[in-house]
Amino acid sequence: MPEPTTPNALAHTAAPTIVVVGHGMVGQRFLEALADRGLTPAAGAARVVVLCEEPRPAYDRVRLTSYFDGRSPEDLSLVERDFMERHGFELYVGDPATGVDRAGRTVTARSGAVFPYDTLVLATGSYPFVPPVPGKDARGCFVYRTIEDLLAIEEYAKGAATGAVVGGGLLGLEAAGALKGLGLSTHVVEFAPRLMPVQVDEGGGAALLRTIEDMGLAVHTGVGTQEVLAGADGAVTGMALSDGSSLAVDLVVFSAGVRPRDQLARECGLAVGERGGIVVDEECRTSDPAVFAIGECALAADGRVYGLVAPGYEMAQAAAEVIAGGRSAFTGADLSTKLKLLGVDVASFGDAHGAAEGALDVVYSDARAGVYKKLVIGRDGTLLGGVLVGDADQYGTLRPMTGTVLPVAPEQLVLPAGAGGPVALGPSALPDEAVICSCHNVTKGAICEHTTLPEVKKCTKAGTGCGSCLKVIGQLMPPPEDAGLCGCFPYSRSELYEIVRTLEVTSFAELLDSHGREEARGGDGCEVCKPTVGSVIASLAPTVGASGYVLDGEQAALQDTNDHFLANLQRNGSYSIVPRIPGGEITPEKLIVIGEVARDFGLYTKITGGQRIDLFGARVDQLPQIWTRLVDAGFESGHAYGKSLRTVKSCVGQTWCRYGVQDSVRMAIDLELRYRGLRSPHKLKSAVSGCARECAEARGKDFGIIATAQGWNLYVGGNGGATPRHADLLAQDLSDAELVRLIDRFLMFYIRTADRLERTSAWLERIDGGLDHVRDVVVHDSLGLCEELERMMTDHVAGYRDEWAETINDPERLRRFVTFVNAPHAPDPSVKFVPERDQIKPDLELLAGPVLAVRTLEGTAS
């Protein structure tokens, strides 16, 4: 948090002082607009004081609900880390303005501090409207406006089971989404006869209603709240509705609209509208020429109070330009909006209700699929506006075309694919002056001056508001010039996979010389393409007739050291060993063998997250001796070193657990043995849970299986790590055979199409069509590939051999396991250990030589 600089009266005598009251989204945009114009303390042009009521600087209020997607309050911040210091703005958080003396031109803050101003800018925003119903102040009644509101709701919800939201508009549905995210059974009460009455028409409301009810929310339209009922302890127990019915709820959120916060202006005698809002002219100036008002607190020159962020941003820009001595005007804004409410796309733009004389509607409605699209067309064929519910992909192209005659028949734009439409009306069809980002008023022409999305965001701010235009911006960017794997190949991993598969190339050198970049042919490849091609050839080995053993022939030179030594390299040059323990099930005898091996070789022993045991601290020359013991006891490679299947975790399942409904351990073992050794673009993790309690954490895996009373549910694309992602349901209530067949297809399709080091989670997010496309391909066989995918997996299963058993039985292969080529029996003097908690750890002091100090792994990782 920026430390406010100490006000220095002398230093500010020359430059004018601007005081900004309110540091919300619009206040911050105003500061950025000042900075853009050089009107900053850092430039010596002004003193700027910002008074912020909330305990934190401006954040993205529009995405408040995304807090439940795992975003922290910090993630929502709109203020760059050093923004305030860089420009010299004085920000006082948690210290709102309490009074304005217009005659003396000073503002008093709650802390008692008094700030003189030359120009005052009011950006106080709005407050939630709470209807005056009895019981509205009972414990358990909330509003939904700030991060603090949200944290308070979250805290109270811990002791609640059912919640109600009063208001079925945009904010109400956001709040309902928040309650649902907190696990509450949720009601929405809307006085109007439909949801989102301002934005959508009756048909759109109906589509929205159906989809939202399908999500398990109870919607009550056309009824008002008469009273909030409370128990003897003062806590909410229910609501009485105007139709005589009542709801039993533990928590009520009022989200029935907002009102401009104009109290400060009223108290100091500025003109305010009859229904609230600080009266401003087109320059955003109030009845006092030294005072401006912007955003939701202002009653704009067109007589409206705008409750959306985009018009607020426009006002911020206009006011900053005027204060900087320029000319600008805010004459009104269009109320177009696109949102994702509870996962449903909702958009409206232009004259959405067809209010214009002679306007005609073109409507497509599919209540079953929850899709509703309406275009409002003028008599002359001009697009006047529209409403899109359930599928708002076209918003980005249609909104900028508002006011023009469409280049195709409007019905073609609303019909679904396969029914004569939709015509692909890409952003290339838009004129340069079309506004793509309405939050920051950025045109297509301005965006097309840049070539990458980060550059566009940085230079034009487009896409940094509500984010609804990001898809169109992406389509306007030129494709990256070179999608090649590395400096050696101009092809992606999936393209190389197809080349290897169709041409049956079995050697890296052959592939490099025939398909490498001109300048790389005849060379040695690099550390990126060698393991990648090695993995592709290994994946396809049974199909293209290559050896499946990863250390055979030329393959040996392609593998990373882990694959080369069939063990995991650790920071001091020693290796770790993970024997396969399928499903995490192990006999006492085998457990004893692992203990004995670890003891005899002095290895550090730790249980892994995947229900296996990792043995650390082996030298290269010890690996074959250790594995001879392990293989003799019936162990095989766990492939912890490979980009391949790691482990299939399991809970104990039906056999022992009183809740279990299927034998999860048996299924985990079957799957682990089926897919062991399968080389893939990245590691593969899996788990099987025996009931919906999900003790095996299957939804955090690349493919996770959860038992149902009827069979198995298959989830795909889960991940833990730095970017956690819950796996998506691919198919449900599968028999054993159906489950295995689907996983076969899914894995082979992933291996075929993923990029290098792309986990299934990232792959699923990236590929066109996402989960639906993958489901079409592997469940419905839309590409006619399934037979081939299944055959390839059958080949893999039939061709599997344990790499370690093959290695220790082959003197030629064993030759590589020496530390020194000129002293095969000498132990590596640089691999030494020191004691730690009754075991060993690497002796790193030994490695810190005179050349460079040892850096931490974090310090040099790129």
């Binding site: 040695d524 392609l558 050291t561 390299l569 001091n572 020194f820 080529v821 810190a848 030589g849 792994l857």
Partner: protein, 119 residues
């Protein structure tokens, strides 16, 4: 720092490495796999990493990865960029030019180079 002398003699023979005033015999050429390295224990206890590229040329650099201190460069993957051979450290993937020892990813880092010959 010396620069590597590279011979391209094919077939069998011994790989020798300049050490002090002597040539240290490392191993039979046939023990080298194109594209991979081996580690060599030097009489003074230091370690070298010896590589053979696809064309049969042999290079030797210090085995110690200066970024982590571990003696592991011999286990890195060999590659070529712009016709120059390099090895990528198996730990954090920094690349080192096999002919000069210079780190291609950090100007401040380098590894020693040994003169090698094969006969």
């Amino acid at each position: 720092m010396t620069t590597a002398t590279i011979t391209t003699a094919q077939g069998t023979g011994f790989v020798r490495l300049a050490h002090g005033t002597d040539w240290l015999t490392v191993c039979d050429r046939a023990l080298l796999t194109p594209g991979r390295g081996v580690a060599v224990l030097l009489p003074d206890g230091d370690q070298a990493a010896v590589f053979m590229d696809r064309a049969g040329q042999v290079y030797a650099i210090g085995n110690r990865d200066p970024f982590t201190g571990a003696y592991v460069l011999s286990r890195g993957l060999l590659g070529s960029a712009g016709g120059r051979p390099f090895v990528a450290s198996p730990l954090l993937k920094q690349r080192f030019d096999l002919a000069t020892g210079a780190c291609l990813d950090d100007e401040g880092a380098a590894v020693p180079v040994f003169t090698v010959r094969t006969d």
